[in-house]
Symmetry: C2
Subunit: 567 residues, 2 copies
């Protein structure tokens, strides 16, 4: 092992690491990597696109391999949502063989100090950051991001999440590491000294199932926390978003190689047989499973991989209650942007908009529900004009069912369609599904409407739901939160009582409450190092990024105690 | 709710609470309640016995009930291991009805501050402490404790564990509660202020399955942590050890009644149908399950109650490696006491004693294996002479299979019996099973011997296992730890390399390592507030009392954030 190199990286990244630890303790916002495009060179952006194109139709090489591996099995059928196949193939190794490698690599990795493990991971994060515009492109062509979303969610913000995880593990490791020297007197006997030593150890092999919507942002907290804790990691990427994780694993492996650390602390598992993904979870060597995605597979994992600690973030939606505001224009702008951005494919995008039948209270007047609905639709239309091409804002639809799902909502008996979802022709990508938002007013008196909007409908559809009073809104949100899951809750209110009531509701159902978000900071946004993510209480979700429990679960505590005999 | 009373209790218990919080942070030993008998009045001890006898053959009244409940169903068939039926019956309420009550009680309970919840729980702990000698008796007549074990494990040490849990939850609640005021600048826009509020919330309904060996010591950490966190608790006691938990629940309920807090924050579930205990775990309202006991039911819980967070401490044994010592006599005394105390029915009692074939190195000579075996057996015999009646030391056997299990070990082909287990006639309790320890030398060359000693054999049997060298011992302990579970590891060594190697092994398998414990502080002992308990890595155990993760699991984190608009 090249300890000198590790120490060099530690010194190089010391200031970033220290800032990160200060940030996780204080929860004050910290941006290790700028998310302003203007802080980057245009050449970097171009280079990202060139490098992405060079990857197309290639055999992805995750590490340096001998020629003996040329006969290896390869898989991979990713298709860009922008309408072309990536043509990239990945090595398909047996899961059992990856487990063996992981277990072999673990002993040396866990015996490195957390400081040196963090140094290596910081170096990896820094290199991933240097590839930011490659990751932006990759986010577009695996997850359908618009360019800006790829830059944020698939690159700089994900990198921040990775660093946050490393910092959290450092902090918790320090908390769990204690030496205690104490005196013990039992009965009349002579006092004895006991030296105690408390030390965290990694929980063991960590399996991370990454998703498609935000592959790196979703997976990095798990991957980097597990690695920092000393756990080897096997990543099982979504079959349509292998590339972002393959690039990540490759970056970590190359840093390992330079430091003389076994590159098997992280591996990628790909298969063309879905059954293999289930079998992997059932391997007895797996101690931790992270999963973010559809509830069905999450539930399956909990039921069948009960030998491991299974942590899932499952489907949940985001709702908004528009009660009153002193910044009506800023509110409308914020909502309209939320409905358009990445076609509301994030589970943190607003979907259900509650208003009271009496309208929206402004300081000097009341806006009726009708006017609000018109203003919202009008602002969406204006926004779409501002972005040329619109796909920069809307991104591309990734769900094959999305259009059909939205049409079904629009055609439902309860639905009064305020704005129809339209398919736009993109000038550059003829086969890309670019959709504009559908806005549906839920007509009262149809009890079946909840079947449509209580769960997440991935994609650009929102429901304006009119209720009689605060109490009715609170009751429905509580019910939906307990039964279906509400991840985020937006609130516009200048009435302290309403704010107080909604704080109770959101805490009860584990929704992140965002109050009076106007202008250009959005409900769907999350300040890494500061905001938590996850926590909806619907039965099978139990993971919250940024909350200590998420990091503690990767470490177990050990103790030895020595009596200093006085014979 | 009687807030004034809660505040009075808070003030009364403030100094104990503060000391407890200091102790959990520093891990310095802290004894809120003396475990020296001499610090108690003889009258208290007598009173405990009288009160216990008064409970016999009664209808246990867990709270004040109206006469309407006289027709209720009652269950309970506890038999004292000392040889007589307790004749106590308990109300058997439907689990569904207990769940409804728990959920109704939760809202007010969780909305009390953690400070006032703690005040109520401290008052309950103090009252339980006042009943210490009742609990000692109850420990004897449900768990087969000797009087002293009942006093320690079923009373004062369990009370300390309860207080420790409350302190931990206070500390974690403080850690998770944060207000953050920060400025946000997005692009060129005017900076905005965001006020963030982080708050922990209880995870939800907590189910605690308590065991028989150490019913209160095992259950209190879970019960009091959950209650302090704001979770309502339903306790499902072992059918042979209902009374200790019934008394505990009653004490908490009576404190609740005085404070005007719903007494349904805690309830006891008893049934005469084992299937009901499984059905309870599958109730969807249950969010947390704590279980301590046999692996079979622990595994069942993990497989079938996957909707909840299941935390289990399952069967595991304790081993000792006798390498070298500078206090041979103190070591022999310590080991012999460990084999006798409570007939080694605790999983933390030594079971497997490893020695090297070359014998035990003393500063000036070597003790051969033969001499060591003779000395150990002789010391056991001496010890038994010292305690009159011997049941004060040995306690009473609770397992129906124990004698047969031990006889099977003694009769196994690998076994050279150094000391046969004998049934003693107790002068006072004719039907009590008082057994003296069996010591078996494992003859080499029988691979089947591991089938006998790798798992826990509850009861007074130990195996002396001779190995060639340190490496062979380490390898076997690693294997047994991974596959079967090693909870504790004793080591006698004056060689720093041996100590270092065994520290690695014990940390790998999650065993609490106790080095050079001589005289009267025993491997099986645990300084509450200081030592952790649990953590053996065999697959389905994942609970460590005293480690932060155990307490974090009872809380989830919530956030609200408010933009202070600058319109």
């Amino acid at each position: 092992m090249n300890i000198r190199r590790l120490k060099m990286w530690r010194d190089q990244h010391r200031s970033m690491m220290n800032s990160a630890i200060v940030a996780v303790n204080s929860r004050q916002p910290y941006s290790p990597f700028s998310d302003e495009l203007t802080n980057y060179e245009h050449a970097q952006i171009e280079q990202g696109e060139i490098r992405f194109k060079r990857l197309l139709d290639s055999k992805f090489q995750i590490d340096r391999r001998s020629s003996a591996d040329l006969g290896e099995k390869r898989v991979g059928k990713e298709t860009s949502p922008y309408g072309f196949p990536l043509g990239i193939s990945y090595r398909a190794e047996h899961f059992d063989s990856l487990v063996k490698k992981a277990n072999r690599s673990m002993s040396k990795w866990e015996h490195l100090s957390v400081e040196l493990r963090s140094a290596l991971l910081c170096e990896a994060i820094t290199r991933i950051h240097a590839d930011t515009f490659l990751f932006s492109q990759v986010g577009m062509h695996t997850s359908g991001h618009g360019f800006f979303m790829g830059f944020h969610a698939n690159a700089v913000h994900a990198q921040a999440r990775a660093l946050e995880s490393v910092a959290r593990i450092c902090q918790i490791t320090a908390e769990l590491t204690q030496q205690v020297d104490s005196e013990l007197t039992v009965g009349d006997a002579q006092p004895q000294r006991i030296l105690r030593n408390f030390q965290p150890k990694p929980a063991g092999l960590s399996l991370v199932y990454s998703g498609r919507v935000a592959p790196t942002w979703g997976a990095y907290p798990c991957v980097f926390a597990s690695l920092a804790a000393g756990c080897p990691v096997i990543v099982i990427p979504h079959s349509e978003a292998i590339l972002p994780l393959a690039l990540t694993v490759k970056a970590i492996k190359s840093v390992c190689a330079e430091a003389g650390v076994s590159a098997d602390i992280i591996n990628l598992f790909c298969s063309d047989n879905d059954a293999d993904y289930r079998k992997a979870a059932q391997h007895r060597a797996v101690k931790l499973i992270d999963y973010m995605g559809k509830s069905e597979f999450g539930k399956w994992l909990r039921q069948h991989a009960w030998h491991a600690r299974v942590m899932t973030q499952q489907s949940a939606q985001t709702s908004v209650f528009v009660h009153s505001t002193d910044n009506y224009d800023g509110m409308i702008e914020n909502l309209a942007f939320g409905l358009c951005s990445y076609s509301a494919q994030l589970c943190t995008s607003p979907q259900n908009i509650y208003v009271l039948k009496d309208g929206i209270q402004l300081p000097d007047k009341i806006i009726t529900v009708d006017v609000f609905q018109r203003d919202l639709v009008a602002r969406i239309d204006q926004l779409l004009q501002r972005f040329q091409p619109p796909r920069d804002l809307l991104g591309v639809i990734i769900g094959k069912q999305t259009v059909a799902d939205i049409r079904q909502c629009e055609g439902a008996r309860f639905a009064k369609v305020l704005r129809h979802c339209e398919l736009l022709q993109d000038p550059e990508f003829a086969d890309a599904q670019v959709l504009t938002p559908s806005v549906i007013a839920v007509q009262p008196g149809f009890s079946s409407s909840l079947d449509y909007y209580a769960s997440e409908v991935a994609g650009p559809v929102s429901f304006v739901i009119v209720k009689d009073d605060l109490k009715t809104v609170a009751r429905e949100l509580s019910y939906v939160g307990q039964e279906f899951g509400v991840l985020g809750l937006g609130l516009y209110a200048i009435d302290a009582n309403v704010e107080k009531a909604m704080k109770c509701v959101s805490a009860d159902i584990g929704a992140l409450l965002s109050v009076n978000f106007c202008g250009n900071y959005f409900i769907s946004q999350c300040s890494v190092f500061t905001d938590i993510h996850g926590g909806a209480v619907n039965s099978s979700s139990d993971v919250t990024y940024g909350a200590p429990g998420f990091y503690h679960s990767r470490l177990r505590m050990t103790e030895d105690r020595t009596v200093v005999c006085t014979p």
